[in-house]
Symmetry: D2
Subunit: 274 residues, 4 copies
């Protein structure tokens, strides 16, 4: 291997520049230390950079090396996934020139809470995606998306039913906030917006009195997916009002009376139009 050939640097057959080239479905370990707490995460990562028209390929191994060198360096304490994302992209740039790049990390995030009546300790899960875009001459952009498993309670069926019976079902809500590093809300504050936007919170443990509390909340706050979607947008706009964030929400409801799902999508771009 004395004269290693750098095929990647050759001219490609079709001189077309590509937007995003890199690795995906890359799994690793990640430790974040914040406010005295330590979070052990196992993200699934996509890391891509642009490829100029005159280069045949990118050097994939340099992307993987950059991730391992930054993420798996135990001497290097990371205080947020967002900061760490920018460090990874900086390291990639040191090893491999690019004019723009994108990094995405998806992982489950757990938080401790208490059941509403019996006050039992539980751990609840949300799914988090942190995306980062860097581009020469532009400010770095970050998007955090949080998914929360909640529920919907049909107000239309309830209003039309003499006994106030209705159909209830699991629903999945997702809030995405996009902005710059200093504008980013915490995962916990975004999860908090989500859980308050549904008819009732969901819990890993519910004793009978807790269950009754949750069921009563549900029936006192019947909501369509449209209602939950608007709640997420309105609450996040209010909660993060000092920040100029792009906010988007998607709510999907796994209908108990149908085999299909229902969905509602909105964003503050639309919101502001009204």
């Amino acid at each position: 291997m004395k004269n290693q050939i750098e095929t990647q640097n050759e001219k490609p057959m079709n001189e077309i520049s590509l937007d995003y080239v890199g690795i995906t479905n890359f799994k690793t370990l990640l430790v974040i230390t914040r406010d005295g707490k330590t979070f052990h995460l196992t993200p699934v990562i996509e890391a891509t950079i642009n490829l100029p028209a005159e280069m045949k390929g990118i050097h994939m191994s340099r992307i993987c090396e950059s991730i391992v060198e930054i993420i798996n360096d135990e001497r290097n304490a990371h205080h947020s996934v967002e900061e760490l994302s920018l460090q990874v992209l900086k390291k990639i740039k040191e090893k491999h020139p690019f004019s723009h790049a994108h990094l995405s990390l998806n992982f489950d995030f757990f938080y401790e809470t208490k059941t509403p009546v019996t006050k039992k300790k539980t751990f609840e899960v949300t799914n988090v995606t942190v995306e980062t875009w860097v581009k020469d001459g532009s400010e770095d952009q970050i998007a955090i998306s949080i998914e929360y498993i909640g529920n919907t309670v049909c107000p239309h069926a309830m209003e039309n039913n003499p006994e106030k019976r209705t159909h209830v079902q699991r629903a999945l809500g997702k809030l995405t906030a996009k902005g710059t590093l200093d504008q980013m809300p915490s995962f916990e504050s975004m999860a908090s917006v989500l859980k308050k936007s549904f008819p009732a919170e969901t819990f890993a443990i519910l004793k009978t009195t807790d269950e009754q509390f949750v069921i009563d909340r549900m029936h006192e706050n019947p909501m369509f997916v449209e209602d939950v979607c608007r709640n997420i947008l309105a609450r996040s706009k209010e909660s993060f009002s000092d920040k100029k964030l792009d906010l988007a929400a998607i709510v999907k409801s796994f209908e108990s009376i149908h085999k299909h799902d229902v969905i509602a999508k909105g964003s503050t771009t639309t919101y502001n139009k009204n």
Copy 2:
């Protein structure tokens, strides 16, 4: 390619016989004509045969050829997936010796129905798996599994609530019937057992009066996953009582008050024990 080498027939390094070797995740088209109706299915297929200890490998292409020759032969009218399965395995045996083999086809199956009050036409989907095992010296065995999307309505929460409020959610029920070719019930009769075993049927379309009908059925028949699972076992045993089938049921409920699911599994083997 005059002297083609049959590597598959060589001695393997480790002379260990293998139970099932073949292809999986194979997609094709399938037409069934039965009782004057034509069903176009797009099954995902797994087809495997045993491999004796002294052979290095099986001839994979002969498995694929057998499937294409039987399934995609337009001159050959198929009247049931079960009969066709036995034909495929017979064709494989002609092309490739084996002492036992297994074939599995998984597909969505649609049936026409009407909504309960407004009598609107809808098409409803169930997922079907047909498995066939053939073995030298044994009778051929067939298993049909049908999955139906229904719901559960918590009777415990309802009984404890002064206003009879409860939590409701989507649930998935699966019935498996195993026996010989002449014992096999139709997909429709198995789907019928499933849909009657839930608190209420689910529909692709529900106008307000239909929706009220479904919601009232739900609340009049509150059921745990355990209740639905036992209903499936009891109803299928009764419906197919003239047949000596092995019956198994699994019900999973996508809880609206939790982020996790609940599950109940049973079979007539257990049932008979009582």
Copy 3:
């Protein structure tokens, strides 16, 4: 139910307009007759419309009814999924006012072909998504995406290896063409672009001589994901040159030497920049 309450028409708590509200993961049957051939498809459908700020919800059942009335009407011969999509959206508009709407159908599409040397008949599968956007005052937009399972063959490893050994793996290519109804290429022509853009075609059946043909093609045309992605863009631009389509390509390679995947994404917007 004399005085049915239309909860959907009430004022919502948060007067925010939503972009897309409707149903998703809706499965049904679809028959297309084109050029004397009949295609039976089982699409998974998402159908959404905008929701004005002053309305609490959309009337979901009208969306489902529109799909069933158009798609499942046997008297109504459909000649393309694209035309049918526009008919569905027109029917929704008759039943439910909107200012913009989106429809998506995803399904497996099969085509007959022959193996390269032994000329055996096989059926090959591609996954197709047809999306349609209609908006008051704008021309209808359609996007067709075709996914094809091919392969990559690392040219860098091959060039550096004295015996021209390299690593090979399955890869998934996706071509999306977006334009107006009259500009849309056929599924077959898009699938053709895809299969010619990989080192070699893939087949459901390959006898030994066919397999050797495919392997030789692979090694004579080693390609990175970047090469395949550019081939798709260049070939589709050339093949559909009389049409002013937006073209985008994604190629993902399931690396045989890594546990992660590699990915390349590009579009003609970028292409034109060069």
Copy 4:
């Protein structure tokens, strides 16, 4: 809620005993300390117990409580997932009578290694499932399953090709070892059996010289899925020869020349027959 009704204890409509009733898809955090190393895992859990014919339902919340009390107790150091599993089942038994029960934990497990030539540090992932069955009057049974992403290299194509060209692809191997607590091999020793059973190991990072090393190993050790499956069985039998374990292996190959996969399944039960 003074007189809470225990609906679960009522007589069911159908007095059929059920095999397994409980929770599934339950996500939580888990810390294992072993040999001075700490492992942070995020398992997906299924926990089920039998339901006697005369009881309407199980008390689901007691299952969840038992998991949280054992797994999330920070004062309680856990030294293996297997030991912890038995503790969880013991805790469930304290809270809820049963005659048999099953617990399953599925999680990604990471281990540090070095690339073969340049000796770069990488973290590699395997997927682990630990299952435990307890039954009155029987010894506790444990099964550990490890999944490893490797590759296959077709020896048939290579032997028939004058230039020794062949097709290569990603493959997934799974080894399951079932026995009693004292017989269980470590995850690392099982992963080691798996990675040595493939043509070559896979790595998160490979510099050009590492890549050449891996490619040469692949081509020097061409293997069918059948070969890999037999290697796993033979190597695990040899590695864990002092233990009387039931061993089973499944290998699936994501063919680069086909759109479908190929599969081989075997077990020591079959092995011993030869």
